[in-house]
Every structure is written in C-alpha cells, then in structure tokens.
Symmetry: C2
Subunit: 378 residues, 2 copies
C-alpha cells in the first residue's frame, strides 16, 4: 500500500473535483447542454490565455495543435524561424521539416532564452519570413523564454509569432494580447489540471486570416473548419466530451482563484523551490528558470534516473530526470503547475533530502524544507 504523488512536468495532478466530472454519465455533443459547456469553457480559456481572441479546443495531444499552428499558417516553400533551446522547441523545426517549410533555426545554449537582439538581426537579414515559432516554458530545460521581448521584435518586423505554452500556461506569465502574440498552443494535462487528450490554440486576427487562406492539405486539424464551428459553439468533429466536461470545472476553478493571482503564487512557489534546493547545495540548471518546473543539477557522481527511480519506488513520488542523451542523467525536474501546491513541494523536498542522504549525499535533514517554509510562510 503506497500513496502516489505526481510532480512530473505533465501529466500533472488532476484534482478530485475534475476526476468526478470526467466520470459523469455520457451526454450527446450536438445538444444545447453541451454547447453551453463548450461556450463556458471557451470563455474561461480566453481569460487563462489572456486573450480576447478565440481559443479553439481540439481532440489531440498538444503536438497536434503545434502541427495545426504550422500547417494552417505557413504554406509549402514559405519561410519561418524557429527559436530552439531544448527538446520541445526543436519539435517546431521537426514539424516544419515534415511539411516542407523552409526553416531557419536560431539555436541558443540550453537553459538560456533566445536573445531578442539576435532575432532582430536575423529578421533584418532574412526578408519574407512568415512566422517565428518558439516556446514559453521549455520543459526539457525548465527555462522560460522571454516572449515579451521576442514578440516586440516580431511586431516590429510585421511577422507572426507562435508560442508553445503547453507546460507554461497558467504559471509562466504570458500576456497574449498585450504582448502581441499571434498564436498560443497548449494542452490539457499541465496547468489546466486535466488528463491529456485536449489541445488548445488561440489565434490573433492576423493568424485567423492566415488560417482562412492556408493551402497546405489539412483535414482533421483544419483551423478554418474549427473556427467556423467555434462561432456556433460547436466542433468540426466529435469532441472529447468527458474531457471538455472536466475542462469547464477546471477553468471555473482557476477563474475563482484568479488568473493573475495564480501567476504571482506560482512565481513565489518556484522561487521557494529554487531556494529550497540551494539550501541543500543543489544548483539550478536554467539561467532563466520557469515558474512551471524547476531543474536542478544532480550532485557530483550521482545519476538523475536513479534519484527519480528511488523517489518513485520507495515513496511513490514521481519527479522527472532530464530529456535527451546529454541531459537525462544530469538534471532532476520538479513540476509546480496546475493543481500542485506548496504542501506537495514540502513533501517532495522532505523525500528528496532522504533519498539523496541514502545515496551518500552529505546533507542536513530538514534544511530544504525549512528554507521552503521560510520563503512561503516566513
């Protein structure tokens, strides 16, 4: 008998009130009742996305919405820039390659954010770029990109910017309309406190216009179709009914907390996590740490996967190791997104201390927890 605690950077915890909603009796989707649920959840998503524009709901993983954000905005032979600094920002380039889109990759050192000045130079040197694709929280390095500054640059060059906010949405500040972000993509299983299975995409007027005239072959992920149905509180294809029923309750709960209040709360929580780690000698991997997930270098001589395995096998608590050959054994990642709260993190550090000590790391038991408490409650 072991209790389980989920602190991985997605899927994230699903609260019991959402799990209850998921298990309700099935309803038909072409009904007034369901259209009302779609409408309410859609309005809630707008608040969370900080936009007045439509936020479309698709039945797919986040990657499906990323592909839609490429194929509905950019035609074959057109040119884009991808700002890369980790596994997930690289995915934009993989998608573009699959679709025959000319791609300029602007790579940054992992753990850092793309430099707006470099982007400005690149856009000046390369005329005719249709859009810039990048990432809010690069989950693989636990780094938040400076979307505000990057969007200023794309605005200056009159180029669209699309942001993968799959793991960052709801924690890492993203003022979509105010910053002039054209496309924001997200998924259900992180900040939105649902199981995976829904993807979301917001579109500025410019992005909507592009979607209406795109000529890549799309069907299931046609945003033109999705937009037409969105206006009628409907979906182009059978929606994932139970997840959307849960979504309504999840977004309502987030609105009750307050979207702005939550940004502040997660920023403080993330700061407390970094401070707690430092209190036991751990160093933060990222130069620009995210408020959704924190990565620590593992202590000298230790392997990340072993720490993660011991945490899960011995105490039922799941955190993540690194991603990709270079990083997988070098960092551990602790998520603070969605339903995760301060007490979850205190518990996490109490177990991390124990596991590291068992593995031979010199540590004063209680130090990280005390520092965490001090930051949050002191």
């Amino acid at each position: 008998m072991k209790r389980r605690y989920l602190l991985t950077p997605g899927p994230s915890q699903v609260p019991s009130f959402v799990r209850e909603a998921l298990g309700r009796e099935m309803m038909h989707h072409r009904t007034e009742e369901f259209r009302e649920i779609l409408k309410v959840s859609g309005e809630g998503l707008k608040e969370i996305f900080c936009t007045k524009n439509p936020v479309l709901t698709l039945a797919s993983s986040g990657t499906g919405a990323m592909e839609a954000a490429v194929t509905n905005l950019v035609n074959k032979g057109e040119k884009i820039i991808v700002l890369r600094g980790g596994k997930f920002s690289e995915r934009w380039a993989e998608i573009a390659k699959a679709w025959g889109i000319e791609t300029i990759n602007m790579d940054v050192v992992w753990g850092t954010s793309p430099d707006p000045v470099e982007l400005d130079k690149l856009l000046t040197a390369n005329k005719g770029v249709k859009a810039v694709y990048t990432t809010l929280c690069e989950t693989s390095t636990a780094t938040v990109f400076d979307i505000k500054s990057l969007a200023q640059v794309t605005k200056k060059h009159n180029v669209m910017i699309a942001v993968d906010a799959i793991s960052g949405l709801g924690q890492d500040l993203l003022l979509t309309d105010e910053w002039g972000v054209d496309v924001v993509v997200s998924g259900s299983q992180k900040g939105l406190m649902l199981p995976p299975g829904l993807a979301f995409i917001s579109l500025s007027e410019k992005a909507q216009a592009a979607a209406m005239t795109a000529n890549q072959p799309t069907f299931y992920f046609s945003l033109k179709k999705a937009l037409k149905n969105y206006e009628k509180n409907d979906t182009a294809f059978t929606p994932a009914v139970s997840l959307i029923v849960g979504l309504k309750d999840a977004v309502n709960a987030i609105k009750e907390d307050g979207v702005a209040a939550r940004f502040v709360r997660f920023a403080k929580m993330a700061y407390a996590v970094r401070e707690a780690g430092k209190a036991i000698g751990l160093t933060v991997y990222s130069k620009r740490p995210s408020d959704s997930v924190t990565a620590f270098h593992v202590p000298e001589g230790m392997k990340a996967k072993e720490i993660v395995k011991k945490m899960r096998k011995e105490y039922g608590l799941s955190i993540a190791a690194g991603q990709g050959e270079e990083l997988e054994e070098k960092i551990i990642r602790i998520a603070h997104m969605g339903w995760v709260n301060e007490q979850d993190l205190i518990m996490c550090f109490s177990l991390l201390e124990k596991v590291l000590k068992d593995m031979g790391y010199k540590i004063k038991i209680g130090a990280s927890v005390a520092r965490f408490q001090e930051v949050i409650y002191g």
Copy 2:
C-alpha cells in the same frame, strides 16, 4: 429531475465501471505500469478487431484515424476508389480531396451496399488504384456494407482495402484478417463503451509496409512513428491517459462477454428492433440494415426532429434524426451498440409508442414492446 437515456449512434453509453476508471488518479505515461495498461488494452483491441496485426491507439476523434489511413497509405497523385453511400463514406473522399489524391467515387443509392461486381469492373477498368476506402456501418443510413465480398474483389486485384468501422466495430461482423481487410479504423465512443477522444487503426503487413514508405507530410498522425513506438508499448506523443485506463477495463469486459458471442447478440437485438418497429407500422429505411443502429422512416406527415425532441424533452431519452438535408426529417435512428442492452430498447420502444401516439399516430400501445420481447425472450 429527469433520468437520461442515451441511445444515439455515438457517443454511446459509458458503463459505470468505465466511468470509475476515467476518474482515477492521474499517472505518468512513461512508466512500466502504464506500458502494461497499453499492452493489455492493445491485445484486447486485436481480439475485437479480429486481427493478429497491430491496432494503434491515437489521441483524436475517429476522423483523425481516417485521415491517417489516407495520408500514410497513399501518396499525392496516386489513385484511390471511395465506395460512397452516406455522410460518413463521403468523408473518405473529402479527406482524399484535401490531400490531392486522385479519387474515383463509386456511389450507391443511400441505404444500400456497394455492389462487389461493380467494384470488380471499376478496378478492371482503372489500373493502378492504390486502395479502396469504404465503411462497415454507414451510420447516416444505418446500413452495413458487404465488406467480405468487397474485400474478395480488392484481393483479386491486389489492391488494399480500408474500412471505417467507427460505429460498426463490435456489433457488425468484421473478420479483418479472415476477409483480408488491410486497414480498419475505429473510435472509442461507440462499441468500445468509452467517451470520444481515442481513435484506433489496424494495419495489415501490406498496409504497414505502405506506411513505412509514405511520403505525404505527416507528423502527429505519422503511422511510421506510431508503429515504432507500438513495438515498445509506447506512444509517439503524450497519450490520453485516462481514456486508455478506461479502455483497458472496457476491452476486458468485452472479452469476458466474448467477441463472437456479442456479434450474435447484437444481430439478434437488431432483428428484434426491426421487428418491434414493424409491429407498430414503421418501415426500416435500409435495404441492408446494420446490427449497430436501425433507421426507421417516420410516419407520413411527421418530422423526425420533432419526434427526437419530444423523446428527449419529455422523457430524457436521446435517439437521432437523419443526417444531411435530404434525410434529416425523414428517418429516426436508434443505436444498439456497446453498452446498450435489450432492456434499454424495450424502454425506448415504450416511449416511442407514447410519443408517436401523442403526435397523432394511430397505434396499439404495447405492440412494439411485445414483439421485441417475443423475439428476444419468446
């Protein structure tokens, strides 16, 4: 306070034991525990699909898997035949058109099945056809297509055949391997007793080989990627965890009933439905009625949508009207798939009798229910 009864041809009823599974605590998907769930549900799907080949699970509606069945098998400029006789078989042609695939449509009168002899002629006259796309249960007309005979013809011409079994799977007999069907597509929300949000696709060796060399731009729906991950009991992208947890319990329950026994049971149930309707003077729309859903002509002078609306508003029971301008007011459709049982249908006819009587239809109350009971229990 009104009880609700769902007898629409999708989404279909979700049993309480599956709804309980959907509401369980979230788990991480890159774990042994989840891989085991994927494996067990995948093995169960093979039994239900009547195939020894892989059945891939995708996070999307059924239409996503239909698109995958086109884009991963047929390249741009190649030629296919679509056998059409209703709204859903037409979708194959819409997808092919979006992807620039040359399409020969063989249309049949709605409510009938494509003629294998005609297909034989068409394949003889048109060399170089890559695949034939068609439908098991054409939901819009409640008609089952003669897949066995059609597959004999495609086999003779050494052409692949892909079948949309989204609504038919589990009720309408489909012996995938024995009949030589290369691709079968289905969804979660019909015979499999789950909410919508998962799609499935089985691939013969020939279809797998085609998927490995396809050159259309695909990413999220790349079956090459899906097949590679399938071998490792994994998924290419974040799977819809809660739905897959429910899937395992649903397929296990179906296996316990027995896949073959269920085909027989639904055939009998569908026969009883047709007989019950006839006992109150209703006529069956389809010339080749499906075992998953039955369509009746509405009585002279009545409108299908009004019958459906009264059933739902006054008694909480949902059936469906027709689809498409021509049929929407002409037929009512009653589903018998997945979790629906004989008692649901007795209840349905008892209410249908009442509603038709209230609308002025001359009827002997009890006649359809009595005939249904006689067929099933007599």
